[in-house]
Symmetry: C2
Subunit: 266 residues, 2 copies
DNA sequence: TGGTGTGAAACTCTTCACAGCG
DNA sequence: CGCTGTGAAGAGTTTCACACCA
């Protein structure tokens, strides 16, 4: 029997509202709120990610003085095909001119609106190790709109030290500091063992969105959104593709140039 | 040369007409029966990512002395539901025992095999700024299997300086050094402007897989696999969800300022 | 008995292809 | 005429539910 790891350490009594029917019911990470009668998720999750890319490309184009773009141009620059781009844009409305294309400024404005970039989202970074340091130093983070306003670590030597202009606070102060400063996005860059506890404190501090760099599956109340960036998984996916390719080639050629034995399955 | 698989239905011989330069995204993963060996119907891209997660969870369980797991336990720990887990595992074969579960060691072994972790994948990190530094210092990267064996930057002050035990080389030497050391995975942590050029050199050095942290769409030959990690996009997706939630709440409270066309709604 | 493995249904996302408008 | 916007077809994923067997 596998020892179950401790789960959420209790504090806030999770205001659950959709009891799982399944045994153990792993939270369905469904992108949207459950079964709401209304609250439609108009825009597909996958499309949202691309909208952010379009915005970046458009901003670059605007800087170069472009005033209009066709779906063809924009899609090429964004690395997708034009049908997908038009479909994606159609989710946010009709801002193009048939026979012409899109006005860059208009589209930029609409994308910013949809992505919620018309207001600032204050960011807290937890875990000021190598990665946390790097993140904190982005100072202002990707573009404006995401100012880093709080840093946390557990190392006494770091407490009080300013990194990228913001002094480091102790993990224990996460709830109060986050609440005080109105942090809305928490970034977890701690070792995996600390991640869940840090996450709980962020939630206690009123943080609604979490970007998790720690290789753990976080348990959160359903009103909190979590995105995961997992380096190990990314590398392993790449590894998988290398292996698959090697397998394919071995199948057809059967020779290894490098002297390394190819391990790939029979 | 890997045959392009057409997966259109047999009755619509639509001729491909646009030479769309796609990213090496999730385009083709098929490549199935070609090599005719034994194994599998291709594993869905989405499942591969999860297999890596299962592997991590299983490794942790193994360390704690677990010898068997049920799909229920494992799926809970991995944050998915058990049906999905079983389906995912079924892609790699039948290694479970009905009425009992899976043997942890067996599953770990099979997952490592499928993910190509039975051999090492040497990694090069390009761009030794804050992020690159952090990556280089992971030293050995996530677990073993991904040793960092080359570092590159353009800053003369950095050349020759060892970071995490590996001396930094110049960008110009990327092709030769990568070829010499047999690098198979390149990690791009440079400013966006340098990314494409770095990418080209990595490819010239024989690198087959690239993990790109720079916010640009890379152009690569089709035999090269690219994965993107985009901080700005992640934050903007979180921002979108915060905005949507805010909109929903405002909407239900009847307070929406209807100045702008509002998204959403069923 | 209890849990795996899997066909088939349900759902989501992508691509096609063309109507319609500037 | 050229390009957007979109219904519909297609491909990919997830979920269901149950046969099957250690």
């Amino acid at each position: 029997m596998v020892a179950q790891r401790g789960r959420r350490n209790g504090s806030a009594p999770a205001p659950r509202r959709a009891p799982e029917a399944e045994t153990a019911g792993a939270a369905e990470v469904a992108s949207t709120a459950s079964a709401g009668a209304h609250s439609a998720r108009a825009i597909p999750e996958a499309a949202v990610a691309r909208l952010a890319v379009y915005l970046r490309v458009l901003s670059a184009m605007a800087e170069q003085g472009a005033t209009t773009v066709s779906s063809e141009e924009l899609s090429t620059a964004a690395g997708v095909n034009s049908a997908k781009l038009r479909k994606d844009l159609s989710y946010i409305g009709s801002y193009g001119t048939r026979g012409v294309g899109y006005e860059v400024q208009v589209l930029v404005g609409q994308l910013e609106r949809i992505l919620g970039l018309t207001r600032q989202h204050k960011v807290a970074v937890v875990g000021i190790g190598n990665l946390g340091h790097a993140l904190a130093n982005y100072g202002g983070f990707p573009g404006r709109g995401f100012p880093v306003e709080a840093l946390f670590d557990i190392d006494p030597d770091l407490i009080g030290v300013p990194v990228g202009g913001v002094p480091v606070s102790h993990l224990d102060d996460i709830p109060t500091v986050c609440a005080e400063r109105g942090i809305s996005i928490g970034v977890i860059a701690t070792p995996p063992t600390a991640a869940q506890s840090v996450c709980d404190r962020l939630v206690a501090g009123g943080v609604q969105s979490i970007l998790n760099f720690a290789p753990v599956v976080l348990q959160v109340p359903e009103h909190v959104e979590v995105r995961k960036v997992d380096l190990a998984v990314e590398l392993q996916i790449l590894s998988f593709h290398v292996a698959r390719r090697a397998a394919d080639e071995a199948g057809s050629a059967g020779t290894t140039a490098d002297g390394t034995k190819d391990v790939v399955v029979s």
